[in-house]
Symmetry: C2
């Protein structure tokens, strides 16, 4: 148990964020390679649960789990020209092994389109093999030159990447919609993180994609954070990787492709940032490594054994209910225990004193609302209702907060004023000059081609855009 | 569904092994980097279940889950001189990133003693922090110059590695015993793979260790396969990494350390090789991606709907029982389906024909014994008993096979004759000349210092040794 010498305050978000990562033992950022972290148990548990949930959604949808090697031969990474142009400044290169220089340099994967499509060529023969949908959960490597930030921008990060091959554009679009739904389910209904899906402008697409959709959330400091992306790759990769199939009529055709991925690190960063408060983390029950902590309170020595027995009885019962429960019997004072487990974000704390024992009751303290609730021991299953209400509450709170940071900005003044405080909804005529003027102080995150809106710079007819300052 | 053109035969083990890996879609070894595999869903499922079981055993034992970066700076990997001497010919080096040459070369981890102990120095202050036990499941990288073989010897392989720091030698030995028990439980009671634990001779220890214990199993071709190791590191690493703690008296002392790991790839290879037969894989129910496959058999079109309804009813019931079940409604003939799912190793097949329907019965075919068993629909939970018997049966079969390959070899002739057919129990006087003579045709896998046995070469007093030809 670590001592807290200092009060956390979320007002200074950047400081709060770094402090809580260390205090709650989420990651250790002291590893001697810039931008690379050590994941600790408390954080890894959340990442693993997120991963498991996503994987099961993808598998229900027909995705096959795979795992590819971490390295990509230079000639394969370089096949698609726009793709390699987008990544060549960010690639870590393995050039030697033992005392030998390698004949072909190996890249640490920055993303896995190229190695996976190299195999798709072998795996796909006929229209019966389509759609082929695979996914893997792994780390990827990018030599970031921007300022790195734990879980938000690193040189090694954990994600799940999905890759699919389709018989035509229509099936590719269908998959994009299904993936958007799956990611929405994960992010909104499991992590309770609000977001907007933005269609990135042409200059901000994934290298090699014909369309890129991004899930953007808003962090407490008003900056936006891209937590997942979905790409339409058209036939750009299938043509250079020669991924073709025989269609129903016996004709050879190139597949259409899609690829997509959420970042587990950024999802964890957003979860921490959006739900947490001045006391520390607030973890949704399904994701909390410990869901219920039991703190027995001994006033008199004569009560001690009885209270302890009662605490153990509750612990056993909760375990029977398949809950992750921890009975804190350390030497700390109850107040210090409360403080510590609140900081760690444990959803419910059960305090057990002599009165609880006498009444066969249990006092439950909710981490989110700080409410105290008394329930009978015989009605312990009410905890599940409390969990549901907990989830509903943090979801709603996060949503309200998010909505308060989405602004209509129909004039330049508002756009300037609100830039960096969230996401602005504005208009843009499509003209390069107006784009440059907008991007002097903010970034265009999304272009909504279907929605008309006057340009915020020149006043001419345009389309809706979403702007913000991304991490 | 793949067609099988050729009959498998386990007599030619090497051919059988490579064919079944491809046929059952365990891995794809056509990735264009030597010694690196693509793991496919059927194999990954088994690895993940093995990993999950091991991780939960380690966590019950007080191990904390961590995940370290894949790269190790050269200066850290090189700190312990014996360790780096043992690995320097096998290390992949990252030397460049983007267009820049890195100031410090980065190794792809061949094992993680050095990066983890670099952090142990920061994490350990007092005797209260001890023992500190962590583990991670990850891939490691070794530039093997020997012949590579899928899952058995590769340049990228999946494992779990545990690392612990102890206050003294006694606690280190205690941990070694606990880990031996945990690994035994995993390998013997979950994977049903028989093994011997061999204390490696001095010249075959892990680089930097004072003792190395290895779990050796025997493959169908008589070669031995090291599937897990446990090392006593003494204070070799703690002294160079300066990992010290304040003991109860306030004195600074260096920790003792242990490290250990099983290879998930090799465990999978052994599982496939040891339990499989001429029809293909035989998977233990707990590890099978599909535990029960249902194949409806339609003789007459008029029966079709009724049989299909019955099949779906059984499927629903089995899912309710939390079983992984698959109803095969593909266009293949029943015979082809039987063949395919037998090859994939699915433990139980349920065939449903008109008679089963009429009698509200179910015909179950066991993959291990090929027995057919009829049970009533109302007694479906008998499947769990069949699973238990299945496990008992393959465990016993594997054990018998193993025991038939362990030989007493008290004279040179027997030792020579049996070398390469399994493990020989012999004696050795400790003399270098005699060692050289033994290792001319076999390898010393284990030295049992406590057990006296006459030297198989010179006849003088010696200790028991175990020999064999390892993969």
């Amino acid at each position: 148990m670590k001592n807290k010498d200092k009060k956390l305050s979320k007002k200074n978000f950047s400081e709060w964020y770094h402090e809580i990562l260390a205090l709650a033992d989420i990651v250790d950022d002291r590893y001697p390679v810039k931008g690379m972290l050590i994941y600790k148990q408390w954080g890894l548990f959340i990442i693993r649960e997120t991963q498991r949930r996503l994987e099961s959604l993808l598998e229900e949808n027909g995705h096959q789990l795979v795992l590819f090697p971490v390295v990509i031969p230079e000639n394969i990474l370089g096949k698609e020209s726009k793709h390699i142009a987008g990544f060549e400044n960010e690639v870590f290169w393995v050039t030697h092994a033992g005392k030998n220089k390698l004949d072909v340099k190996l890249a640490l994967r920055p993303t896995s389109e190229t190695p996976i499509y190299e195999m798709f060529r072998l795996w796909i023969r006929s229209h019966k093999d389509l759609p082929l949908k695979v996914h893997q959960s792994c780390a990827v490597y990018r030599y970031e030159t921007k300022h790195t930030r734990p879980l938000i921008r690193g040189r090694e990060f954990l994600w799940n990447e999905g890759h699919a091959a389709h018989k035509d554009e229509e099936d590719a679009k269908k998959n994009i919609n299904e993936i958007k739904k799956i990611y929405s389910k994960l992010i909104q209904d499991f992590l309770f993180i609000p977001f907007l899906i933005n269609k990135r402008p042409e200059w901000d697409r994934f290298p090699g994609a014909t369309e890129t959709y991004a899930f953007d959330t808003i962090m407490p400091d008003g900056k936006t954070l891209q937590i997942a992306t979905v790409h339409n790759l058209g036939q750009n990769f299938s043509k250079v990787f020669d991924i073709n199939f025989e269609d129903e009529t016996g004709e050879k055709r190139f597949v259409h492709q899609t690829s997509y991925g959420p970042s587990f690190g950024r999802l964890l960063a957003a979860l921490i940032a959006i739900h947490g408060d001045d006391l520390g983390l607030i973890l949704p029950p399904k994701l909390a490594p410990i869901q219920v902590v039991i703190v027995p309170i001994f006033y008199k020595d004569s009560d001690k054994d009885k209270i302890l027995d009662y605490a153990k009885k509750i612990e056993a019962k909760l375990k029977e209910m398949n809950l992750r429960v921890y009975l804190d019997l350390s030497d700390e004072r109850p107040g210090a225990k409360f403080y510590y487990w609140e900081m760690k974000g444990v959803p419910l704390r059960i305090e057990i004193g002599p009165r609880d024992l006498a009444n066969e009751e249990i006092t439950i303290a909710r981490r989110d609302t700080k409410e105290k609730i008394s329930i009978k021991f015989s009605a312990l299953e009410k905890i599940f209702d409390i969990f549901s209400d907990f989830e509903r509450n943090i979801k709603e709170k996060a949503k309200k907060e998010f909505q308060s940071k989405v602004f209509e900005a129909n004039d330049l003044e508002t756009l300037k004023e609100k830039a960096g405080s969230g996401i602005c909804i504005s208009g843009w005529c499509g003209n390069e000059d107006c784009k440059v003027k907008i991007e002097e102080f903010t970034s265009i995150l999304g272009v909504e081609e279907g929605k008309e809106k006057k340009c915020v710079i020149c006043g001419k007819k345009g389309i809706e855009i979403r702007t913000g300052k991304p991490y």
